[in-house]
């Protein structure tokens, strides 16, 4: 015969286990409904100094457009750092809940390397490519918006190369060729076809 006290203990434990199970399912559903994780940091990390204009070329899937969006922020003086900040800010914009051009969860930028004032190498993380939607248009909008945003900060820039986790990649997500350099002038010309 089980004592009354022991019955209470078992019942409490069973309820606790069931409650934990339901809470776990609730958390899982909540995480799925959120989609992209919230951007951990502010759109522009703090830098001391006078506020300057930071131009982002923001893609919109709704009308296949790339539009400049100017924000005011203190910017680092180092060109590479400034380029990194601009692209990081743009990617953070795309990861927000109301993004006009959503990127996959966890998409981020490792770094921007300036080989010389005219040549930049952008190193994106694996999630940027792996979680990116597949299609010529959506891939083109992502890459072109990064190129134009970088050009806005680095006026001498003439060519950009993209790496994924430090390695060359054939395509971004099955369509857009990432294996070579992007000629900035040709990207600007191609963007005339965008709205």
């Amino acid at each position: 015969m089980i004592s009354r006290k022991l019955q209470y203990i078992i019942a409490t434990l069973v309820l606790a286990i069931l409650a934990m199970g339901f809470y776990l399912v609730h958390l899982k559903r909540k995480a799925e409904s959120i989609g992209a994780p919230p951007v951990a940091e502010a759109l522009t990390p703090p830098f001391s100094g006078p506020a300057q204009q930071l131009t982002l070329y923001v893609a919109s899937d709704e009308d296949d457009s790339l539009r400049p969006s100017v924000i005011s922020s203190a910017l680092p003086s180092d060109p590479g750092e400034r380029g990194r900040l601009a692209l990081h800010t743009l990617i953070a914009r795309y990861l927000q809940k109301d993004s006009p051009h959503p990127l996959g969860a966890g998409s981020d930028l490792h770094d921007v390397y300036l080989l010389d004032p005219a040549s930049a190498v952008v190193n994106l993380n694996a999630a940027f490519s792996q979680a990116h939607r597949s299609g010529i248009e959506v891939e083109q909008l992502s890459i072109f918006s990064l190129v134009l945003t970088l050009k806005a900060q680095l006026p001498q820039l003439t060519r950009v190369r993209f790496l994924i986790d430090g390695k060359p990649r054939d395509t971004l997500a099955g369509h857009l060729d990432l294996s070579g350099w992007f000629d900035v002038a040709m990207v600007i010309e191609a963007c005339k076809g965008l709205r």
Partner: protein, 469 residues
Amino acid sequence: MPKEHAISVRAIALLLVLLAAGFAAEPRRISVYSPQALYQVDILVREGVDYVGLTDLLEPLGRLESRADGKKLKLTFNGSEADFQDGKRQYHVRSNKLELLANFLLIDGRGYIPAASISQLLPRLADQAADFHLASRRLFIGSSQLHFSAELRHAPSRLVLSFSAPVNPSSVIEKGRVRLLFRREALVGNGADNVSYSDPFLQSISFTESPAGAELIANLLQPATVSIGDGGRTVTILAVPAAAPPLAASVPPPVPSSAAPSANQPHPAQRPRPFVILDAAHGGFDTGSLLSATIQEKTVTLTLARRLQKELEARGISVVLTRAADNLLTWDQRAISANTSHAALYIALHASASGHGVRFYTSMIPSSPPGQTKRSFLPWELAQAPYLDESSSAASALAAECTSAGLPVRSSTAPLRPLNSVTAAAVAVEISPFGSDADELGTPEYQQKVAAALASGIAALRGKLGDAQ
């Protein structure tokens, strides 16, 4: 430990096990190939032995009745009777006394036998041969097995695989090899799982099987394409003509923009030149983008290519496809097909759930410098340069017809393979739904509308593009 405590510990442990079961990994399964059905049976592991449920195994094969009585199970399958007893190896089928390789299990009225005993039980109970491949967990019942033979032929070099029944494998063309994956076919080896060849095209063939299916791998020394013929009974792995870049080369060698046909190809004068070559993007394992829960890009591009082909042929325009089945071609193979076809126009077909209407892309490479002609030697990745103006004109003509058909249109340049290496007017077309429903991409009505508009645009280009190169 007091009895009460022991009971409570067991109760909690049982609850934890039940909760954990929800997060457990997918169970191991046996793939069953039979003339009646292709199905899978879950494996139950008890004391290190793999068991299968008799009901799961036999129900798809015929009429099954079973009745548990205490520790005994009596079943009737298509009129044949069998008796089993929980915890015993011995059992009876049609009054014959037989022995399982491990004890019979009766759990909640359901009988389980060791998987390794299937080959013994089925022929006696179902009058059908059973061949169980233990390592790959594939069970072949009756005459379901499918056999193949391989033959190496020359001029041109090709490996011809003949099958005893139609197949539809997924093909993957990788560097130095072609993989054919048979997920639904009951393909079995032909006794020699690895065969080596002394041939400049084919190095070896190997056959492997796993729970996911069977795989044939052809290790090659030259690039190749894969085609399925004879109603699916033949798969041909064909060496790409000698003008193709070798598989081992990381960068294809320069080619003349008007490449002469190789010795293995018929002379252009001996076969009609198509006006247009249609390239349905993706294929095989490369599904392209997932357009909706059920529609893959590779399927839409292929059906659209076929519709466009019919529309063009109805207008008297000669057309060829780079792929007519669900097989994967590399970018270089697509460009080689286009260039060796000497078509005046190359059109790559893509599909996307994003955006609306039809988008046209031409190559994003620099224009030819002054003095460079279509007959100049060019790097492989810049072979399109002398044709950029023609490509742009073609894109404009196609866009104009689509606009007339009421489709939203946009044109741009983009870095896309294999456009850069095509020696003809070359345009990539990406279709998106007209409205917001991506399922529209798979509907015959929408595809037909787009195909008709594209065909009209192509027809308008006759006589405007340069001679086929």
